[in-house]
Symmetry: C2
Subunit: 222 residues, 2 copies
DNA sequence: AGGGTAAGATTGGGATACCAAAATGGCATG
DNA sequence: CATGCCATTTTGGTATCCCAATCTTACCCT
C-alpha cells in the first residue's frame, strides 16, 4: 500500500481514538518525523482527512477537528430519516445470512469485552444495518454520521445499565428486521437514535468539568 | 486564494460542465501545463476531487469519474427521505424572507434563459430548500447528491414541456412550505424526485445512441 | 508477416530545495 | 515592570529532483 494511505489510516486512527486531542495543532514537520516520511505523502493524507472533516485548516495551520457537541442534535435529526429508511429497505432486501452475520457481531461482544470493542461494534452495527438497505448512498451517509459521532461517544461515561439498554435496542431493531416488520423496525430505530442522543447529551452535561479537565477542544454544548 | 484551491475549482468546473469527458485520463503533467503550476498543488487538488468522487484512480492513473447511470435509482431512493425531511423542517423553521429569496431565484430564470442557467438553478433550488431545514448535515448530503446528479442532467434531452413540468413542481413545493403545510410539501417533494428520476431515465434510454456517440464513459444504464 | 522483447519514454510516488509569510523571542525603551 | 519592535526561526506553499514502475515502440528473430 502507498505510504500516503498508511499515514492516512494511522493518523485517522489516532484522531478517532483521541490519541490526538480535538483542536490540537498538527505541523507537517512534526508529522514528518512522527511517520518518518516526507511532507509529500503527509500533505496528501492531510488533504484527504480534511475531506472527511477529521482535520481542518485554522488559518494556514492544520488542526485536529474539534468536537462540536452542538451538532449532536442535528446529527440525530439527520440520522432518523436515513436510518429508518435503511431498516425499511433492509426488511425488503436482506437475506437471512446477512441478518445472521449481524447477530453474530452482536453476540461476539460479551459483557467482559474491552471498551474499544463496545465502541467499535456500537458504530459498526449501524453501518452494517445500512448496508442491508443495498443503497450505497445510505451506507456512506450513515458511515459518515457515525464517524462524526465516534469521538463524542468516547467522552460519554458509559454506565452498565445504559450500555445494556443500547444493546437491547440494537437487538430489537434487528429482531424486527428479521421478522420482516418494517414499520416496527423503523419506529425502533428512530427511538434508539433519540435515546442515544439523550443519553449522550445527559452524560456530557453531567461531565462537563471532566471534559474541560482533559483539555480537549470541545465546543458547542449548551 | 491558494493556487491549489484555484486549480481545484477550475478542474471541478471543467468536470461538472463535461468539458472533461467522464472516464477521460488526467495526467499530472498535462494538468501542470494546463494550469501553469507545479505538480504539488495539482496533486492536492486531485486528492481533494477524489474525496468528492469527481476524480478516481484507475490503477495509478487519474481519471475523471465515469457517470454511472445505474446509481440514478439509488440516488432517488436516498434523496426522498432526505428531502422530505428537509421540507418538513423548512416549514417549521424558514422565515418569509428565506422563502422570498428562493422565489426570486426561480423568477430570475425566464424561459429564454440559457441552458446553463436552467441547469444551475435546477440544482441550487434543492440545496437552498435543504438550507431552510437549518440542518447542515442535510444540506451537505443534498448538495452532494445534486453534484452526483449534475452531469447526468446535462445528458438529458430537455423538452420544453418537461422543463416546465419540473418548474411547476418546484413552485408547488415552495408554495406548500410558504403555506406551512409540511405533509403536502413532503408528498410533493417525494413525487418530484420520482418524476425527475423517471424523466431522466426515459430520456437517457431514448438517447443511448447519442450518448455513446459522444464517447463519454457512461456506464450502468440497464 | 507476426509476435516477442528490450530500449526508451512517460508516469506517479516520494524527497528535497527554496521562498514568503507568520510566529517567536529577546532586547530596548518607556 | 510593561510594551513595542526587530531579528530569528518556523511554518506551509510551491517548484524541482530522483526513482521505480509501467507503458510504448521499434526492432529482430522466426
Amino acid at each position: 500500500m502507498s505510504q500516503m494511505l498508511q499515514i492516512h489510516d494511522q493518523l485517522r486512527e489516532m484522531i478517532l481514538s483521541l490519541d490526538l486531542g480535538p483542536g490540537e495543532r498538527l505541523t507537517e514537520r512534526w508529522l514528518e518525523s512522527r511517520f518518518e516520511g516526507s511532507r509529500t505523502p503527509i500533505r496528501a493524507a492531510l488533504v484527504r482527512l480534511e475531506g472527511e472533516e477529521l482535520v481542518q485548516r485554522d488559518g494556514r495551520n492544520w488542526i485536529v477537528a474539534p468536537i462540536d457537541l452542538g451538532e449532536l442534535e442535528a446529527l440525530a435529526e439527520f440520522r432518523v430519516p436515513l436510518e429508518t429508511t435503511a431498516v425499511r429497505l433492509a426488511c425488503a432486501r436482506a437475506s437471512e445470512a446477512d441478518i445472521a452475520g449481524i447477530e453474530g457481531m452482536l453476540d461476539a461482544c460479551q459483557s467482559g469485552a474491552p471498551r474499544e470493542e463496545w465502541h467499535r461494534i456500537g458504530t459498526d452495527f449501524h453501518v452494517e444495518i445500512a448496508r442491508l438497505s443495498g443503497n450505497s448512498f445510505i451506507v456512506k451517509a450513515v458511515a459518515g454520521a457515525m464517524t462524526r459521532l465516534s469521538r463524542a461517544r468516547w467522552l460519554e461515561v458509559w454506565t452498565e445499565p445504559s450500555r445494556e439498554q443500547a444493546w437491547r435496542e440494537h437487538r430489537r431493531i434487528l429482531g424486527f428486521i428479521k421478522n420482516n416488520d418494517p414499520e416496527a423496525a423503523a419506529r425502533e430505530a428512530a427511538d434508539h437514535i433519540s435515546d442515544t442522543r439523550d443519553r449522550l447529551l445527559r452524560s456530557l452535561n453531567e461531565d462537563r468539568r471532566g471534559l474541560k479537565a482533559r483539555g480537549f477542544a470541545v465546543i458547542g454544548l449548551r
